[in-house]
């Protein structure tokens, strides 16, 4: 359909007084004017409501200075919750795999252990035998 033609009706160059076609469901100025099929206009997604004062968020970071303020009996790295081979330690992927194998290897499932060994072998060769830094 000729959407443009349905909307614009010129008065032969002169000014137009009054509505073009009285009694329209949608005013001619709106983007839905002259369209035979109504389509959905999408709105931007609404922000999800985040409660900034839950127990976890309000007390985040408490006891991070337990070493300095508490006579060094405790280190904040002991507060970290996570896999045993990663608590208070950081390394690249090869170092993480080796540490996991050392600490937890005998407890792992067989196929996971084999995949881990394969990965260690691949990463060792990749880091130490290829590229600029050997």
């Amino acid at each position: 359909p000729l959407l443009q033609a349905e909307r614009s009706i010129s008065g032969g160059g002169t000014a137009r007084w009054g509505p073009v076609r009285p009694g329209l469901p949608v005013p001619l100025s709106s983007p839905l004017a002259g369209l035979t099929r109504a389509f959905r206009i999408k709105e931007p997604p609404k922000r999800k409501q985040v409660d900034r004062w839950t127990e976890k968020r309000a007390l985040f970071g408490v006891y991070d200075n337990v070493g300095i303020l508490g006579g060094f009996q405790m280190h904040p790295k002991n507060l970290i919750v996570g896999p045993k081979w990663l608590r208070g330690w950081r390394g690249n992927e090869l170092q993480r795999c080796i540490r996991k194998k050392q600490m937890v290897g005998d407890r792992m499932f067989v196929d996971d252990y084999l995949k881990l060994t394969k990965r260690i072998r691949y990463l060792y060769r990749r880091f130490n035998r290829t590229g600029k830094h050997r």
């Binding site: 303020l69 904040p76 608590r87 330690w89």
Partner: protein
């Protein structure tokens, strides 16, 4: 420089919440005069024995007789000198001591605060460093994807190398294929642990305390006794004294039951022991309420790092002169 409850009230009455350092200095100076006038006027109105003139407070440690504003029976004011000796080239900053017993009990006494803890240079970069450290050192990301070796299948060459018109492939699980492995994805639980030097973490605490004091967000209380264990009392108190939307209360000693039950039901008012003080919580909560014992504890603990020797062995093992 006198930090009064007055400046905060005056600033709110002016209709603007001033938090920038420059404007807070000028407003605090002008408002301190108003605060001193208010204290002086209150002293005049509440009792004939109170001195008529405003006391000269700047840089002096002499006793200042204050008459109480609250309807409680008049007691002698609380005056606390600095626990650690102050170097001679610096003078202590001062703050009002308040009380939580009555909503009007705002000027119980004066305390000196050590300038090397409560008046250090406002190092915003150190605040950022320490806050980012607190956010990230605990982080362990559990994202993991399978590489082409770990995806099930893909051992056989799908079609012969030459002859079919198709591209050459070695396995159906290479990263080029749909359903294949990811070549450079996140691998396994990753930890982002690191430690900042101890002196930087200590300096972060000092800068945070300084900033809270200088922006009129630090309130010192003699102890944490409240008349009722109703959480609404604390909310009304914070509202009346214009403390802001969130309050962090810190104490060294054992916490009395009433305030702990009251705070347990509130979200934005939180109570932590002095061991748990940290930059992130101080920045998250708008106001910091500290007891006098906590101030002593913090001064002693944080000042030790200025003049200590570096550790030959970890500080957790015994030293002859520490603690």
């Amino acid at each position: 420089m006198l930090r009064a409850g007055g400046p905060r009230v005056a600033a709110v009455a002016a209709g603007s919440s001033i938090t920038s350092a420059v404007s807070s200095v000028t407003s605090a100076v002008s408002a301190a005069l108003r605060g001193r006038a208010r204290a002086g006027a209150a002293g005049v109105s509440s009792g004939p024995a109170a001195p008529a003139g405003t006391p000269a407070v700047t840089g002096t440690r002499t006793a200042v007789p204050l008459s109480p504003v609250s309807p409680v029976s008049p007691v002698s004011p609380i005056l606390r000198p600095c626990a650690v000796p102050v170097p001679c080239h610096r003078s202590p900053v001062q703050a009002w001591v308040e009380s939580l017993r009555h909503h009007d009990d705002e000027f119980r006494g004066l305390t000196d605060l050590h300038p090397d803890v409560f008046a250090v240079r406002p190092r915003l970069d150190i605040l950022h460093t320490v806050a980012m450290w607190q956010k990230n050192y605990k982080r362990i990301s559990y994202a993991k994807v399978k590489t082409r070796a770990e995806v099930r299948g893909g051992g056989r060459k799908p079609w012969r190398q030459k002859g079919t018109g198709r591209a050459r492939h070695g396995s159906i699980r290479s990263p080029l294929w749909r359903g294949g492995g990811i070549s450079h994805g996140p691998r396994g639980p990753t930890s982002y642990y690191y430690m900042l030097p101890m002196k930087i973490r200590v300096l972060g605490l000092k800068v945070a305390l300084t900033v809270k004091l200088m922006q009129d967000d630090l309130h010192i209380v003699d102890n944490l006794e409240i008349p009722t264990s109703d959480p609404q009392y604390l909310l009304d108190l914070a509202r009346y004294r214009h403390w802001g939307r969130s309050v962090l209360i810190v104490d060294v000693n054992e916490i009395p039951e009433k305030i702990s039950t009251a705070v347990a039901e509130l979200k934005t008012i939180n109570l932590i022991p002095a061991l748990g003080l940290n930059v992130h919580s101080m920045l998250k909560h708008e106001t910091l309420v500290v007891t006098l014992d906590t101030v002593t504890f913090l001064e002693k603990t944080l000042l030790w790092h200025d003049t200590r020797y570096s550790a030959l062995y970890p500080f957790s093992m015994p030293y002859s002169d520490f603690p």
